[in-house]
Symmetry: none
Subunit: 400 residues, 2 copies
């Protein structure tokens, strides 16, 4: 099935869909009890939803592939991540609300610390505070290189974004980040003819930035990563007929939502505010994407118990959806982040779907082992949206 | 795997294959016992076949897609229904044995009742008897419009078919059926340049029909649906090396069989005659497609118990296959029709495969929950034929 096949069947009516993404949800069993973080967590609400729902395991991108957050989310949103590649630079710019134009090439900036020989001593400049980042990006935003408009914007801590705007800029460029300390940043080399001008601009930008930052104690250099030209994707509305609201605290996830045309809800603060936003705007939208970050963070930190607790907090909050009428609820993750690995992984991710027309299966709790026996089987994440639309009554019959 | 990959491996020997299609087989659990129609049915024979066989769940077209009977069957026959789209008009014409030529555009006719203002009062003309349909189509068959040959043939009750034969007729046309009463039939509009002539012919045909039927009490108008040009598919013989017999009572299923080059067995009357036809012609063919309609009808009527009973009747009859030697038996459906929904649905359909070389699994009875744990997993229906051919010893090893 092509990604777009389902679009022909979409009808503009039906129940609502909530996609709750627990970032890095999947894990590995610990060596003592043989349970993953999700299986060890006390999750009466998710188990209740699982009991009446159908379970399975998803491959976010493809079997064996460990996804970054961008591809992981594209899969969840129904876009084949092997066909739609979106660079980190574009995601960063979108995530902070920068209005990219179709000629723009964006890259991520990491402020870094360089020693007297120009070698990197800290790839994150001691994680400078966000206020520092804002002060420094304001300085860099003044860099003027003939032949292009250049925009520099703060993201968070040592992270920022740079956008090069000029006609016909290619985006086949290596990162300048050497991914190591004790060595100099890499020169940015073009990978094709159309990227030669972009490389010229980027290397000049790095030189200018170094001059401007020369007297900074920590952030006296910049590393550029994830060059990417902005190519908007077919929107959620065009593809699925859905008026979609994105509810996420972090720029990255707002960025990927913006890429598919979702409205971005301005949420701040604690996790419960995300769940409250669904209730508050329930009548205004057809589709709600809710993103929980803490699970992934705990997994990346290698903190099994913190991940378990983060899942338990989600479990308490998910009960707030109980009284919302006429809905299909999907709970899953954009990838696995086993705390044993302190990193994203390729392991398939648990998924549950709950709703009026779900054919419930024998699986009785929400966990990796139960999901392996669920009736949804193991399937590519990009099939989630068609399945959700069907259960919400939003797809017409195909053929006579 | 491309649809045709398997063709390269086919060899002209091996066991026989019986594909028993229980229309609309899949269901949803009832609210009391939590069992689907299939799970509630007493099915000792199917359970015995399941015990020694392998189980799974199929997606007839694609996850989330609710198939019409045409696409549902194409999937079962191994043709990707998203690539091979066949209109209802073509299926109807093929189903009554009309020999379509490659220039023909066919449409379904529903006789309808119109009031004095030309508004539809009954979209099925009170379901006139088939004899009436035959009388009226004989009248309409005489309609003569310069520029094309026109054929009108009865199907059943209020249903008929019309075939327009002329060079270069397009088939991008809307239905004239307004899908509602109290309104006039829709004008037939061309969707592209090559369909303009077809639209002209079709609208003239509707006008002429109305004149001829003016004095009929019930069937005084016609509604046209499902315009489709005839494009034959690669045949079962070319693709799979199979000499195939289709055993179905209803025109629709004969039609889709003819589309892939099966021989059509003339069966009439009760369900047991279908099973007897397999036995009677067992030595003459390699492949037998047997179609049971009653389950789908009961599902569409919302009659859980009737669907359960229809499954139990199939269970009694399937024992007649026990003594047929050297065979692979597949039991499945072309889609789900949960009686709770009174309609086709997207839910995956139970499948069992039984034969000498089947690797039997732990699933012990034939039902949705058991199939969810079966060793075949959840897979696209178009993979059934390759699996069946393999078990029948009809595929060579691929590569050295």
């Amino acid at each position: 099935m092509s990604d777009a096949f389902v679009s022909k069947l979409v009808q503009q009516k039906g129940e609502k869909i909530i996609l709750l993404v627990i970032d890095g949800l999947g894990g590995l069993p610990d060596r003592v009890a043989g349970k993953t973080e999700l299986e060890a967590a006390t999750t009466p609400n998710l188990d209740r939803l699982a009991k009446k729902g159908a379970l399975g395991l998803i491959d976010p991108v493809a079997p064996g592939v460990t996804p970054g957050s961008g591809p992981g989310h594209l899969g969840l949103f129904g876009y084949d991540p092997t066909k739609y590649e979106v660079g980190r630079g574009v995601l960063a710019a979108l995530g902070i609300g920068f209005e990219l134009q179709e000629i723009d090439v964006a890259a991520r900036i990491n402020f870094c610390t360089l020693d007297g020989d120009g070698n990197v001593t800290d790839r994150r400049a001691g994680r400078i505070p966000t206020e520092e980042c804002e002060r420094l990006t304001a300085l860099l935003d003044k860099i003027d290189i003939p032949g292009a408009e250049i925009f520099v914007r703060p993201v968070k801590e040592h992270r920022a974004a740079v956008i090069f705007r000029a006609k016909d800029l290619g985006d086949h460029l290596n990162d300048s980040d050497p991914q190591a300390t004790g060595v100099t940043p890499l020169a940015i080399e073009p990978g094709d003819g159309s990227s030669e001008e972009t490389a010229r601009l980027a290397n000049l930008f790095v030189d200018e930035a170094r001059k401007i930052l020369a007297n900074e104690e920590k952030a006296n250099g910049v590393l550029l990563r994830g060059f990417a030209r902005f190519r908007p994707l077919p929107s959620f509305r065009d593809r699925y007929g859905l008026n979609a609201l994105s509810i996420a605290l972090y720029p990255m996830y707002r960025g990927v939502s913006r890429l598919v045309g979702m409205t971005i809800q301005d949420v701040k603060g604690k996790l419960h505010s995300l769940f409250e936003a669904v209730t508050a705007h329930y009548n205004e939208y057809d589709f709600f994407y809710v993103h929980v970050k803490d699970t992934d963070k705990a997994g990346e930190d290698g903190d099994y118990q913190a991940k378990r607790k983060a899942i338990e907090e989600v479990d308490r909050l998910v009960a707030r959806f109980d009284d919302l009428p006429e809905k299909v609820l999907i709970v899953t993750g954009d990838h696995s982040t086993p705390s044993q690995m302190k990193a994203h992984s390729w392991h398939p991710v648990p998924i549950l779907i709950n709703g009026r027309l779900v054919r419930s299966d024998a699986a009785m709790s929400f966990g990796e082992s139960a999901c392996a026996t669920g009736s949804l089987g193991r399937f590519p994440a990009r099939e989630i949206l068609p399945i959700a639309l069907a259960h919400a009554g939003r797809l017409r019959k195909f053929g006579a």
